[in-house]
């Protein structure tokens, strides 16, 4: 199954555009056409043409930038959809799918009826598709790309003999070389002597030929279905009591946790959707401080969220999904490991559901002499306690934005007023010079270097003062224990 215009069809499905349309792709500093619709092809444009040339040929060409990642995702969506025809589906190149329909055609009546059904559904979806059916993967590819059709079972020669050699999935240079030799079709190639071909073009050409004609096997590799962490439960009668909802959630959680355990994963974000009888859905989101797959621990964390739900006339469907999943390998439990860390994680989660998980923080040491930057505040759920803390010099326990005080000279003032208190210096230790970090721009450090003093006042307060010699002035920045 080949989608010759997958990218442009995808865009045109959502925005209906009449007339020529093309997607452009920037390559080697020039916009080139990536994919175009039939109207544009009728104007004489072709893929790979420069966008400026295309505009000259066809002034009313409409265009958009291509999105290869989106196209790729769309192809995977199609792959999933195509599993309705057979379970064995692989991706072929950038815009093709390969299906092994052996044994499933009778479900749709016959091969022809299945192909008709595929075409009808794809046309309805607005996709241009070419479908080839053959005994081998190579034959199907050739038929899809060059002359749509079906190869009779057991006799691929008849269908393939007339197709050009390019249909063998070989490189362009080989195609040109074969044409120069006069071997234009697969039939002609097959009739030619094999050994000179093998000597000249290597084994790849003959391998492709044999694969197309069924003399060499070729497998279809189906993609693995990504694990789906969602479970749901339909209820015969609507429920509305807190205990009932929690009981339902508990059953779902058991199933989900079994799934997570099989994949050695842990949920980080869980979403419980409660659908009411009036079709309105209410969700409870639970963000966990650490990946978990322990139903007994997760269930109580839902209590707060479920308590706030308005059940209305009752809830008739409960759905639980692990929105964000992280790997959580099985760990050996030993007598030295304590449950303390787990309990702390649960506490962080419970506080996080109330005030937001990012507001529960921890301090991490940082390598800087600037007092404000000598530590980092990080969300506790997403960080581990770092290296041990080392205070090279005495540092205050409280820091505040610098508060100016009156003072002159490079020695701390004998008397000063700070926060409406008149203080007198009894002992001053310093100076400790700290220079701004020039590699980081910081507005607070515009005043240049600072000379820090540990000033003990006769009134008791022990303050951290600094003097800025480059812009004379005295400030209080912290208070010691």
């Amino acid at each position: 199954m080949w989608f010759p215009r997958l990218a442009s069809d995808r865009v045109l499905r959502t925005h209906l555009i009449e007339g020529p349309f093309a997607l452009t792709f920037r390559q080697a500093n020039a916009d080139r056409l990536h994919c175009l619709n039939t109207a544009a092809e009728q104007c004489g444009l072709h893929r790979g043409m420069s966008f400026a040339d295309a505009r000259a040929f066809c002034p009313d060409l409409q265009s958009q930038a291509a999105d290869p990642i989106g196209d790729r995702r769309f192809l995977h969506v199609l792959r999933r959809w195509v599993t309705r025809y057979c379970p064995w589906v692989g991706v072929e190149g950038e815009n093709g799918l390969v299906l092994d329909v052996t044994g499933s055609t009778h479900l749709f009546g016959s091969e022809a009826m299945m192909l008709a059904d595929m075409r009808q559904r794809l046309v309805r979806a607005g996709l241009d598709a070419r479908i080839g059916l053959g005994d081998t993967r190579g034959a199907a590819w050739a038929l899809a790309h060059y002359g749509e059709g079906t190869a009779e079972a057991g006799a691929p020669h008849a269908a393939l003999a007339g197709l050009p050699v390019a249909a063998l999935r070989i490189e362009d240079e080989t195609v040109i070389a074969l044409q120069r030799l006069g071997l234009r079709t697969i039939g002609a190639l097959e009739r030619a002597a094999r050994s000179p071909l093998a000597r000249r073009f290597g084994p790849a050409l003959l391998l492709r030929l044999d694969q197309a004609l069924g003399r060499q096997p070729e497998q279809i590799t189906p993609l693995v279905e990504p694990p789906h962490y969602g479970v749901r439960m339909n209820l015969p009668e609507p429920i509305g009591l807190f205990d009932d909802v929690m009981a339902g959630a508990s059953r779902l959680l058991d199933r989900l946790c079994a799934k997570l355990k099989a994949q050695e994963a842990g949920a980080r974000v869980l979403c419980l959707t409660l659908r009411r009888v009036d079709q309105e859905a209410q969700t409870v989101e639970l963000r966990l401080a650490s990946p978990l797959r322990d139903a007994i621990r997760i269930l109580p964390l839902f209590e707060r969220g479920v308590g706030e739900i308005d059940a209305g006339f009752g809830i008739d469907q409960i759905r639980l999904e692990a929105v964000q999943v992280e790997p959580l390998p099985v760990q050996q439990i030993s007598h030295v490991s304590s449950g303390r860390v787990d309990q702390l994680g649960d506490l962080i989660t419970r506080i996080g559901t109330r005030i937001g998980l990012e507001n529960v923080q921890r301090f991490l040491p940082a390598d800087s002499h600037i007092p404000e930057r000598s530590f980092i505040i990080a969300a506790a759920a997403y960080s581990e306690p770092g290296e041990p803390w080392v205070a090279q010099r005495p540092r205050p326990v409280r820091l505040f934005p610098p508060e100016p005080i009156a003072g002159t000279g490079s020695r701390p003032p004998r008397q000063f007023r700070w926060r409406r208190m008149s203080l007198s210096t009894a002992r001053a230790t310093g100076p400790e010079r700290i220079a701004p970090e020039w590699w980081l721009s910081d507005d607070n450090w515009r005043s240049g270097i600072r000379d820090y003093w540990h000033v003990e006042t006769r009134q008791g307060r022990r303050l951290w003062l600094f003097y800025t010699p480059q812009n004379p002035g005295w400030f209080v920045q912290g208070e010691f224990a």
Binding site: L344, Q361, F375, W389, R395, L399, R458
Partner: protein, 204 residues
Amino acid sequence: MNNRITTRYDAHMIVTTDIPLPLRNARVHEACGPGAVSFAAVTAAGGGAVLWVREAWQAETINPVGLSTFFDPSNMLLVQTKNQTETLAVAEEALKDGTVLLVIIETCRPLNLREGRRLQLAARAGKSTGLCLIPEGMGSNAAETRWYCAPVFAEGDSTLMRWKIIKNKSGTYGDWYVRWNAEARRIDVVSPAGERSGSADALD
């Protein structure tokens, strides 16, 4: 100005000599005065996980580098809240849970009877200690003890503090001069007599 503080008590007050520390477990205590943060740091030095709850708008921050002389800040979690209602909700949750042994709560307005009592009940349920850092004169009736803490100047020592119990539900009032012993990570109680200015052997 003289740093010698004469202690004069009313007749019914009995002054004990041994300081009632560590703080009584499964209760909520209060500390006020300029040295309240130091008091909290010394209390946290008792070991175990610490949860420090404060409101996010405050420009003043606690400095973990400075606190590291008292206890290991990697044992501490900081919770920044929007307002006092959130602060109290988080504190109650943490006290009731009992995983963290000490919950330090910075409050900006006085707690009413109901809020104070709820914190006490939570602390009792979780067997953990709470410590409210309150502005002066804004204590709650439910507090087990209330401490007034202030740094004191002394020759040759820069960790001297004066700690005074100004409310005690199950004990007597008291007044102590204490020093932080950084090597042993504990406080040393200093006799006030040794503090008298002009004394020859004042704190070597």
